[in-house]
Subunit: 411 residues, 2 copies
């Protein structure tokens, strides 16, 4: 109950409702949408007209019909409609992706360069260049004669704490503090009108996972803990199908949850944080692998996986200990939030073969309700790409949930 329901909000509500029905069943017809929503055929026709004009929906040839009557024109989401641009700055790579309105990934580029000793402006200039390439990419040409995909908005993922207004409070592994990233990015990118928002990488990874999860119309509960292993460890909490951000947008700092109160001192100053047991450097150190600065994080992960596959005992022990620590932290989350799925994302996805069983064991032992309802542990479906695809996909998700803004701007 937030305000009276009046004409404009009725239109917004019903526009989103019709678009949701078109998304769910493809192709569908105006008559089917009217039957499914309970709206009149005239109202549905008028709303479909708005969606067609704004390029969100497109008409397809009707399938030949054996029964009586003229077959109805089909309606589908437009693959040439407004798209989402995802951008990612991580500790040792940059990435860009475009996801179209149907949820298809139309462009995905990763550039592996260590960002740790670079000035933020140079990093952001590189991101702006990748964004321009993505927007101008040939992948986005839909078909001869039709218009190109148009990017509606961009979302940038950063490995750190992000405020509601897009200020990066702290990205410790990049050495960033209190940094405005939107201004310099827009300046470098030369598209002052594109709406750009910034979010934490684990949050967007969780959204990527949520979308991948939903594509096959999976009816499973959409509450899960997504744990993202990069140089640091973050989490995204999806509760009842939506990302939970917390009072300031700082939720998901699972890397600094206490695993053992008297454990080793963490970068953050506290003792016994999860990062000290399951962070990439902690695993490398425990496995006796020298931290080679020339080795990028994903190459380091590939190296760990290779040694584990060849049954290197030190590496297997290191992964078992990391998995135990992950499981203790995850059990706390499940005891508190009663989520029934734990997703291992980021670099943990590539190590899930070895991390999975100790995580499952700790959950079984430490979650009070594990006996009634088992907790599923699985690797992220998108692996390390979840974040940038989630960033692009979350733009599309917002557009589909509230199409009125986009439709209005074109009127």
């Amino acid at each position: 109950v937030d305000g009276p329901v009046r004409q404009r909000s009725l239109w917004q509500h019903n526009l989103a409702l019709v678009l949701r029905h078109v998304s769910a069943a493809t192709p569908t017809s105006r008559a089917e949408v009217a039957a499914a929503t309970g709206l009149t055929r005239a109202t549905v026709s008028s709303l479909v007209e708005d969606l067609l004009r704004a390029g969100l929906v497109t008409e397809v040839e009707p399938a030949p019909r054996t029964g009586a009557g003229r077959p109805a024109t089909g309606l589908v989401l437009s693959a040439a409609g407004p798209a989402g641009l995802g951008l990612e700055i991580n500790v040792d790579f940059l990435a860009a992706a475009v996801v179209d309105l149907t949820g298809a990934v139309r462009h995905h580029v990763v550039r592996r360069v260590d960002q740790r000793d670079r000035a933020p402006e140079r990093v952001l200039a590189d991101v702006a260049r990748m964004a321009a390439e993505a927007v101008g990419s040939a992948d986005l040409r839909v078909a001869a004669g039709s218009a190109d995909l148009r990017v509606a908005a961009a979302r940038l993922a950063v490995p750190g704490l992000v405020d509601g207004d897009g200020l990066v409070r702290a990205a410790p592994n990049l050495g960033w503090r209190d940094l405005d990233v939107v201004g310099p990015l827009l300046a470098a990118a030369d598209w002052p009108d594109l709406p750009v928002t910034v979010d934490n990488e684990a949050n967007l990874g969780a959204l990527g996972e949520l979308a991948a999860f939903r594509q096959p119309a999976a009816s499973s509960s959409a509450s899960f803990l997504y744990i993202s292993g990069e140089v640091g460890i973050g989490a995204g909490l999806v509760l009842d199908g939506a990302l939970f951000r917390g009072a300031h947008g700082w939720s998901g700092e699972i890397g600094h949850v206490t695993v053992s109160p008297d454990g080793p001192v963490c970068r953050c100053g506290a003792r016994g944080c999860l990062e000290r047991y399951a962070g990439q450097e902690a695993i490398m150190r425990a496995a006796g692998i020298a931290c080679d600065p020339a080795l990028s994080a994903d190459m380091a992960v590939a190296r760990i996986a290779e040694l584990a596959r060849s049954s290197d005992p030190a590496v297997l022990d290191a992964l078992s200990d990391a998995g135990t620590a992950l499981g203790i932290a995850a059990a706390g989350v499940v005891n508190l939030l009663d989520v029934d799925t734990v997703v291992l994302g980021g670099s943990f996805a590539a190590l899930a073969t070895w991390l999975g069983s100790p995580v499952e064991r700790e959950l079984r032992e430490r979650v009070l309700t594990a006996g009634w309802s088992p907790i599923e542990v699985r690797a992220s479906a998108l692996g390390a790409a979840a974040t940038v695809i989630g960033a692009a996909g979350s733009v599309v998700h917002d557009l589909r949930a509230a199409p009125a803004t986009w439709v209005s701007t074109l009127r």
Copy 2:
């Protein structure tokens, strides 16, 4: 976007909207409600008529007005309208409370009897008797000549895991497992028509705290962690003003969050659970106070507080260690959920003087964002009464949020 907005749902929506405005500003007038909501005066008059007829709203004499024009009749929530009945079964007491539509506590009775060795049917028969007393209580007579308060629904608090359909999965401190409590309660109580729901005691305590918190129109964020100390330890998570229940309704099991992975074995089978450090029996044991079976839990708490006030060193140490463990568990929650308030409830409210500083210290040291935004730690406003008052108040809250059901049944 869950369905089309049509006549009936418009009426439901606007009925709740008008009631919300009457609740917020007392007394208000039809004209003020129309101005504040944007609804027409005719619509507001018709909705107010529905609310008056159903007894949710009542008219009061207008205040004498100095300006021009006839003063408008005032509208207020009816203290004689439908009320909520709260019931509580705890390890060593039973309680009942009635909260009227305005949020006022009209009846509150606590009966201290250890329930541990009693058959569930006898416990439920006692609860039914207390409920009958509450419903028939003289406190509920509003004024000579007016109708008595009518209880619209009851909610029962239980110290354990409760399923969505009201089955108590496990209340370990009572020794209950897979027990239907609604059926026997209704049978014993002889009001087959009264809707009864069951919930976890910490959840309802958190709702009680939320209501108490809101009464003075506090604008503070309504996200907090409510930790309830009884014989066991539970938590209620209020996120964005609503209780978060989890996938099966089993959220809030903070008593079984790991504080130290190799710590002592808990009743649940796991090692190092919070209950083993900060549960009532753990505090008594650490303080060297013999567990006297004749000593009820709240008498035991009073004893601990008395010894702490007289600076008994063993008791002060025990409370400091319990507070440290509570702080470690709470820091994990804040790192994950970015809530900015921790409320010490149940018996912890009476011990907050000693538990507060170690909890604050651990939060300061272990929460990554503590430097940017301090976390408030405070004792529950309602103390041990939070649960039963929260149970009754949550019935009223539901009624006020969706008055259409109540109004329709009277039509």
